[in-house]
């Protein structure tokens, strides 16, 4: 495992990109893109996080095994989020959590 030394130039370039990302995401927050606001905010965050992982954390130059570990973490997080949200998105029978409580008259007696 000969180690790869990332040059400070790259570090600074990444840093500047991250700064730019931060600026853009703050700017975008004030624009109205409808539902896309969330997508944009999280998209930029993911872009930034990826840069940090790849360069600051050297994942780009790491052994395969490390890269696999990273992929796994993202994958398992995705399982948790996706399957749970799928349940919430496809519920039919429960009247939503905010629904007018028709039968609350009964509940309160």
């Amino acid at each position: 495992m000969s180690e790869h030394i990332v040059s400070p130039k790259i570090y600074v370039a990444i840093f500047l990109t991250l700064m730019a990302g931060t600026a853009i995401t703050v700017w975008a927050a004030y624009q109205n893109f409808g539902a896309f606001n969330i997508v944009i905010a999280l998209g930029i965050a993911t872009f930034k996080a990826t840069l940090v992982v790849l360069y600051f954390m050297h994942a780009r130059y790491s052994p395969r095994r490390t890269q696999l570990v990273i992929v796994c973490s993202v994958f398992w997080l995705a399982i948790m989020l996706a399957l749970t949200l799928a349940d919430y998105q496809t519920r039919e029978h429960t009247v939503g959590r905010l629904a007018p409580p028709v039968i609350f008259n009964l509940v309160r007696t």
Partner: protein, 317 residues
């Protein structure tokens, strides 16, 4: 009707035979695998028992065809179980259009139900045979679960959500229902009876005309039907004071005062139980306001008056 050791509860709803058939199907498949594997182990065990202390076995590393077979065949059988189970479940989760809707509320530790006519019951549920019944359920506190083994159905009752379940009773009778989601101290006591009635009887019951004749007899019947008896046991050991010898006696209250137990007091105890709390008891009793006709209240009072002969209980008097 059933033997000492029955293997399944009575079948009293449309789902019961379906679930039992499913059970039989899966049991057969599993029996097959269970018996086959156990038999193989026993046979191999004896047939290939070590003959000399130093003997080793024949090295067999594996077999692709066998591996494939026992990957694929169980998978196919599993899919059959899944498919059949899914059909029953989807049916269960989608109530038909023409249901009789009954509201059910679970709270620690009792069940309240309200019939479409507005009539209310506690720890009891009356339904007509042959009608599709849908329960719309909510909880006041923690998660409960409404479970009728004879119907083979259950559904959690979740605070903040409204869950529904449906079934079609197929056989008149009285069946146990339980709370099947652990909900605290008296989880095991949070049950009652579902009464499945012929439609005409049900209609009569709804109109309250069942309590004709002697008010004491009617009152006694109500006392059981309305679950008074689940709390008020004659010997005063339950959660509530015994009502034996109550009428006309001095009752000491939690606030230190005493009252004479007359008709008005008993009436108030039934309709506004929290107005006067008996000493040493918790204000557990639910209100029956709006659930009893005046006639029924009178019948209950008449019944409580009749309980003079038995010895007076020690508590609260």
């Amino acid at each position: 009707m059933q033997s000492q050791l029955p293997l399944y509860p009575e079948q009293a709803s449309n789902f019961a035979p379906q679930v039992d058939n499913l059970m039989l199907f899966i049991t057969l498949i599993c029996l097959f695998f269970g018996v086959a594997i156990t038999a193989a182990i026993v046979i191999f065990f004896f047939k290939f028992h070590r003959k000399q202390p130093n003997a080793v076995g024949v090295p067999i590393l594996g077999d692709m065809r066998l591996e494939t077979a026992w990957l694929v065949i169980p998978l196919l059988l599993a899919m059959a179980m899944f498919g059949w189970g899914a059909v029953v479940y989807v049916d269960y989760r989608h109530a038909p259009q023409d249901t009789l809707d009954i509201y059910v509320i679970g709270k620690q530790w009792m069940w309240k139900a309200q019939q479409p006519s507005g009539l209310r019951e506690i720890n009891e549920l009356h339904v007509p045979v042959g009608r599709n019944v849908r329960l719309i359920m909510a909880s006041e506190d923690v998660i409960h679960d409404f479970f009728v083994p004879a119907f083979r159905v259950k559904m959690d009752v979740v605070p903040g959500h409204y869950n529904t379940m449906w079934f079609r009773p197929t056989k008149p009778g009285r069946y146990h229902f339980f709370c099947s989601q652990y909900c605290g101290t008296n989880h095991a006591l949070m049950g009652g009876w579902v009464t499945v009635m012929e439609p005409s009887e049900y209609a009569a019951w709804l109109s309250g005309s069942s309590g004709q004749g002697d008010p004491v007899v009617a009152g006694e019947k109500l006392f059981v039907e309305r679950a008074c008896s689940t709390c008020h046991s004659p010997d005063g050991t339950g959660r509530a004071p015994s009502l034996n010898g109550l009428y006309g006696s001095q009752v000491s209250l939690a606030d230190g005062t005493t009252v004479v137990a007359d008709d008005a007091y008993i009436r108030e105890s039934i309709l506004q139980p929290n107005a006067k709390i008996v000493a040493r008891y918790q204000p557990l009793m639910p209100t029956y306001q709006g659930q009893l006709t005046e006639e029924q209240i009178l019948a209950l009072i008449a019944y409580i008056k009749s309980l003079q002969s038995q010895p007076a209980p020690a508590s609260g008097k």
